[in-house]
Symmetry: C2
Subunit: 158 residues, 2 copies
């Protein structure tokens, strides 16, 4: 049994879409998940991409992914890397795939000269917390994600 | 007394740096603030910028700023806008400048075709919460910001 991590590219939209949909369901956000496989294809292959993705293969089967985008830390004054999603499909959990993906994200950050990778974790996600803590991640609790969208965005932005 | 919001550009690095430094101190993160005015100049004027900034002027004096970068929502399948910082200098608080900046960010998101603006709020920041709640922002509490940097990033990414 082997884990292989590779860059996502054209044709990976279907697999990425399925993996992030599972993540959305697992986080209780199925109703907010409206993307399509084509959206992921455009993200991966469009002009001036803001980010990219890594795919984890377990014996050649897509088992997990890490989706990232460029970011900028005003405290560091440097471009950093934002980890949008880290997903491992249920049949492939507890095999070390999350750790391998996080390692690949760390290598990518170093290759890009990014001094930090940041992301947001739901506090109830103890599996994620264990994985991150073992990797030396620093946590800043007591935060809320804020979203301005839909009618509120239209009203405020009109 | 007038509020004017304009795009930041070359030459605004000193003002932006000072405003974000005040924000870092106010949030108890002075030790993490290591950026320089030149870092902001490069952010604003470098090739293939990942984001930009808006400056609020109160009677021509720099009074606040909003610093944003491109982002991608895998749930929406669309590029969105991430609000890295919204800062108003202490002498200019409670004058409506934060609300004007948030409105300008909303207009920018609409102009860029972004269906959402997202950011992270410290839960203790009641002034921010009031401003955002009045603007129709949705909150997702119970989250922690995660950061992989320094020795942990080097170790994991080696």
């Amino acid at each position: 049994m082997t884990i292989l991590i590779r860059d996502a590219g054209a044709g990976d939209g279907v697999a990425l879409h399925a993996m992030v949909r599972e993540l959305a369901v697992h986080h209780g956000h199925a109703a907010d998940f409206v993307s399509t496989p084509d959206d992921f294809e455009r993200f991966l292959s469009g002009p001036n991409p803001v980010g990219g993705a890594l795919v984890a293969l377990w014996d050649d089967a897509p088992a997990g992914c890490a989706i990232w985008h460029r970011s900028f830390s005003t405290f560091r004054g440097r471009e950093t890397l934002y980890l949008e999603d880290l997903a491992v499909l249920p049949p492939f959990r507890r095999l070390g795939i999350g750790r391998e993906l996080l390692g690949a994200v760390a290598r990518l950050a170093r290759a890009r000269g990014a001094p930090a990778v940041t992301w947001v974790m739901m506090d109830w996600n103890e599996d994620a917390r264990r994985l991150y803590a073992r990797a030396g991640v620093a946590f800043e609790p007591g935060t809320s994600v804020c979203r301005l969208s839909g009618a509120a965005l239209e009203r405020l932005g009109s």
